[in-house]
Amino acid sequence: MTRRTTIAAAVTALTGAALLLAGQIHAAPARAPADAIKARQAGYKKMGAAMKQLMDQLKSDAPAKDAMLGAARTLAATSREQVSLFPVGSGPGGAVKTDALANIWTERPAFDAQMTKLVAETGKLATVAAGGDVDAIRAQAKATGAVCGACHRQFRADD
């Protein structure tokens, strides 16, 4: 091969490789709506159970720090997973029943802001729980709960 041909072949190969790599990083495939709905419903139930576990400990005379930390960590981790589980097409009226209201997609920036707040507050809850101060945990649990409630009032069908 001539020198020019070699260079052209190398550039082509590198570009091809770069494009392939870029494709790998970018192409997290969008979840099918039905799968997303089921996954997020399971996630929210997990979060509800974790919050109950935390609140039950706070109700008792001797709150167990390990149990509270475990619950807080579950809340923080699961809330991060929920962010990507609201793809277009997973709203009301589909094959799988959901309590998600249509305005999640028509007011998406507001919904995303609530999600960001949830991730932030649950993350803070996990940090506070690791610290072990029961009063601080109680306060942050209440603050986290306020975010749950606010988002639900705006974006979730009433029970």
């Binding site: 509800g48 919050m51 109950k52 039950d56 749950c148 409630g149």
Partner: protein, 227 residues
């Protein structure tokens, strides 16, 4: 049309505890409803404990109270109910003070529904796992959610029963010409001529065991049996 059978004699048909129970319950059901809707859950729980206390007291009074308050006095067998219902179709009701056979069983159904509602509420938890009844930490999240859902379904049943109750009161007022609201307020009702009547009054001190029982149970429940 004047009621032919009624004479001037008026008797005390409902004792003070029954009347107080009735009207306090009306207020508390309304307050529980409002506080629940507004998510004022501390108020909602307190209202529920008060209703629990009232229900426990009424259960006690159904055995220890005056004649018309006692369950044995107004829970009648199927034949008595059928006879009374047939009479109603002919717009006949003798107007004897106290619960009639149909009314008696309706009262029991109302009390049972309220007991069941309170019972479910004690174990209920909301969808966020945040607000819960005092006994919910004894059960799982799933069980608490089921309790919350049944609590809500029973409320619809309660509304239906209350509507029936009001319809019956109206029927008695408009068709049978019996005023049932007055006696539940001031306690006195006219006695039909020829009707026998035993006052069945009991000493006022009898309320004390009931108050202790009601207060004690409601308090213990509110603390989740943790002392």
């Amino acid at each position: 049309m004047t009621e032919p059978g009624l004479i001037a004699q008026r008797v005390t048909v409902w004792d003070v505890p029954v009347r107080l129970f009735h009207w306090l319950l009306v207020g508390l059901i309304g307050f529980s409803w409002w506080s629940g809707e507004q998510h004022e859950m501390d108020w909602h729980r307190t209202s529920g404990y008060a209703i629990l206390a009232l229900l426990v007291f009424r259960l006690y009074w159904g055995f220890a109270g005056s004649g018309t308050a006692r369950f044995a006095g107004f829970l009648r067998g199927p034949r008595a109910v059928a006879t009374y219902a047939a009479g109603l179709l002919r717009r006949q009701d003798a107007g004897v003070p106290g619960h009639n056979p149909l009314g008696g069983w309706s009262v029991l159904l109302l009390l049972a529904t309220l007991f069941a509602m309170v019972g479910c509420g004690l174990f209920a938890v909301d969808v966020d796992g945040l607000e819960s009844g005092p006994l919910s930490d004894y059960v799982s999240f799933e069980a608490g959610r089921t309790a919350a859902e049944v609590h809500g379904l029973l409320f619809n049943l309660l509304l239906g029963l209350i509507a029936l109750h009001l319809a019956a009161i109206l029927f008695h007022a408009l068709v049978l010409r019996h005023n049932l609201v007055g006696p539940m307020v001031h306690g006195r009702a006219p006695l039909p001529s020829g009707a026998t009547w035993q006052s069945g009054r009991v000493g006022w001190w009898r309320v004390l065991p009931g108050l202790l029982l009601a207060g004690g149970i409601a308090y213990a429940v509110s603390r989740g049996f943790r002392f």
